[in-house]
Every structure is written in structure tokens, then in C-alpha cells.
Amino acid sequence: MAPLEPWEKVLIDSKEYPETTHGKFDCESCHLGEEAEDKEAAHNGLIAKPSENSEESCGACHQEYIVPFESSLHSTQQGYWTNIETRGGHDDPAFQQMFENHYQEYIVPFENSLHSTQQGYWTNIEARGGHDDPALQQMFGNHCSGCHATCGDCHVSQPSSVGGGFIDGHNFNATPSMTRNCTACHGSRVGNEYLGKNEGLMGDVHFRIARMTCTGCHTSKEMHDTDSVRPVNDEHRYESKQTPKCENCHQFVTLKTDEIVMHNQHGNKLSCQVCHSVSYSSCDSCHVKLSEETGAPMFTTGGTYLTFLIGRNSIQNSERPYEYVPVRHIPIDSESYSFYGEDLLPNFDSLPTWAYATPHNIQRSTPQNESCNSCHGNADIFLTADKVAPEELEANKDVIVIKVPVQFGLDN
């Protein structure tokens, strides 16, 4: 999405905003600064994004959202840390030295500007007695934390990752914009899939036909975690209770009473997306570093391509009992963070690189559900060992399909 002009980012709606509840507060009550006509003087001590300290700003009135939100995945980004810690977790005196060298330059401002994410990580690591890794913290702060969501990033402005700026003249929108908030961060995979931006592929039927936006499934309660369906300090979006769930609306599917024979036949063996998703993005080899010229964080990705592959469910639990699920290649490799140190991911093989996926491109009819044998016996759509890079075979041993479901009509 095109970035906003500098004036657009801070232009207040003079007609609507003063009439709103938030518009009746003094600007200084949230933003501080000084009362002056001169810009420099007025911006002295200014807090541009008060919701980065949501407890003090938004929490004064919205405690019922702030308290649970601060431990939600959008706030803590714990899902990333869960995977990084699982693959990494290596104590090294060299990291400690690096931490000491770069503490003032990188870590202090990071901690100050993103208090929830930083503290959440330290709390979890220390509580588990796990490993400190200053190098990984530095990497995360430079490259990943930009998607840390504050109240303002959803309800007032575009996220910082796309340049920020008011969406609606400083008006507070109870429902975030799908394209300027949600897919501003969730754009390259979910956004493209859902909106039909992948070449040759239609958008999700929930958007195309039902005209649903993200909040049609991903409710306020889920985003703020006010319904307590997820544990405090949730580890990963696929770890705890499945929310949202297709069955929340499509209730008859799991009751084995609907007219679709395949629903009754497969039960919980397949996630819904196995039959109803189409090709989605996979990526290879993201490497992060700081630019030699500017010192700014940057990344290089090995490649992005469309795939549809069914793998075994490596995170089977009561909420996700499926045997088979779509899997997406994620762009991690053992050298992804090598700019920040050697061997930062010694447990690289502990997590698959073909990860459990829930593509947002649902269709009623798909190539694989045309008939039983569109899937059964069709090795092309299953993640078999020959499709996995040799250096990743160990990491994906719980995902690789060893024996493709047998084709019907053949003598077994």
C-alpha cells in the first residue's frame, strides 16, 4: 500500500473528531507536549503514540480490554519467540559480550518503545529458566518487532510497518480497517490469499461472496483476548483453543448430519483447508542483517512461490485432532540470523520448516475435492520426502507424508 504524505499522517478531521469522546479531551492529556503555537516548542516532550503505554493512556478508560490485550499474541508476539527459542536456546559468553556492547545503542530504546513485547519475553524466559540470548533479542528488535500492535495501530493509525499515519483524521474506529490495519501487517500471505491478489487464483469465498472482512471471523474478543479462551502469555496461535473455528458458523459439518458425504467420511482426520483451500504462498531462506551503507535493518528472501501441499499434522492436540493439514514452507533456515552470530539456532531441527497452515483462500470446489481420487493416490499434492530440501528432512520428519492415501478402485 502506498505510504501517506507527511501531512496526511497527522491531519485531524476538524468536523468529526472534536465531536467524538476522545476529541473532547485535551490533546496534552494523552500526547503531552507543550502548549505553544511554535511547532518545536509544542512538540517538546511529545508522545507521538500514547497507546505504546496502553496501561497509562487507554487503560484509564478501557481496562477491560487493556489488561487481557497486553498478554495477547498481537501485543507480545510470543509466537515468534516460541519458535526462535525452540530452535535457538543457546547460552554463549560471546552473546553476553555482544549484549554489553550494544545495550545502549539497541536494547535500551527497544525496551522503552515496546514495553509489552520486551517484558513479556523476559518474563517467559526467566520463568521457564530458559536461555537468554541477547543476539536474538537484538535481531528481533531490529527486524520483527515492527509488527507489534498497539491500540493505535488498529484503531487510529496505520501500523508503523507501513509508515503509520491517521486512517480517519484521528477518529477512533472501533472496527479496524481490513486493508489499512489488518492486511497492512498480514499482507503478503493472508491478505493476498483472501483478497484474490495471487495471480490466477480467486479470493476467499468469505470475501468474494459473503463480503466478510477480517473481523467477521476474528472478533474483538479474540483480538483483545477478553473472552479468556487463550491462556495468559499464549505461546503460539496454533497452540491453544482454536479460534476462530469454521464450525462456529458451519455447525452441521461436524455433526455428520449434513448432505456432504465426504464430511461424514473424513470426520476430524482432515482440517477444513485440506479440501477447501487452493494454492498459497510459500517462501524460502529469509536472511536478516543491517545495511552496510545505511545501518538500517533489511532482509533478503530466497524465493516466494505458490504451492498446495498436504502434510501430517505435527501439532496434533484436542483442539486440532487432524491427521492431515495444508503445510506452508516458512522462510527460516539455519543461517537466517547469521549476521548476528554463529550457530544461533542449534536446535533448528526441533521445528518443521513446512509449517501447519490455515490458508485464507477457501473455495467451495477445489481441484483436490473434485473426486475421491483427485486426492487419494495423487502424490503431487502431498508433502513427500522428495519435495523437501535434504538439509530440512530431519526438521520435517513429523510432517512428511510417508505413504500417500491409497487410490480408490485399485486392489490393495
Binding site: L11, H170, S188, C283, S291, T294
Partner: protein
């Protein structure tokens, strides 16, 4: 309760009501007088040495300053041209990223 006691009670309640009404009116009058005294500077608590016109000017000046303070932020941030004129020059940096993020 006997008839005479009942009548006495009624009389007593009416008396209380009358006293309450008279007292409230008196207080309202006092309140209004206080307000008038505040505005004209004739209240007894005000020093005789103070000039009432200066007090009025101070009150008005405080109110004006308060209005100006509140609107300073909004005056600037609702003026598109002023935002353009005072914007910090933006340095457009070419992204060094390679591939889809």
C-alpha cells in the same frame, strides 16, 4: 392515634414544610447574591484594595488563554497547508530489501 393527636401531627408537618420552603428560598437568594457579588467585586471577602475591573480582566484573560491553549494543537493539525509548510523534509530511502516480506 386519637383525633386530636392526628391533627397535631398534621399541623406539625405543615409547619416543617413551611420552614423548609422559607429556608431554601433564603439560601437561593444568598447564592444568587454571592454570584452577583463575585461578578461585581462587591463580595465582602474581596479586599477593598483590589480593583474589580482588574479582576474581571484577569478572569477574561484566563478564559481566553485557556481557549487558545486547547486549540493550539487542533488549529495546526486541522490546517493542511500549515502541516505541509512545517513538515520535516522526508528523505526517501530506496528499500534495500530483496524479495517478499
Amino acid at each position: 392515634m386519637t383525633k386530636s393527636n392526628k391533627n397535631n401531627l398534621i399541623i406539625f408537618l405543615i409547619s416543617v414544610f413551611i420552614v423548609a420552603v422559607v429556608t431554601a428560598c433564603g439560601k437561593s437568594s444568598e447564592t444568587i447574591n454571592d454570584v452577583i457579588a463575585d461578578n461585581t467585586g462587591n463580595k465582602s471577602s474581596i479586599s477593598d484594595e483590589e480593583d474589580s475591573s482588574e479582576i474581571d480582566a484577569d478572569l477574561i484573560q484566563d478564559e481566553m488563554e485557556e481557549v487558545n491553549t486547547i486549540s493550539a494543537c487542533v488549529i495546526c493539525h486541522t490546517d493542511k497547508q500549515q502541516l505541509i509548510d512545517t513538515a520535516k523534509p522526508e528523505e526517501v530511502k530506496e528499500s534495500e530489501n530483496e524479495g517478499v516480506g
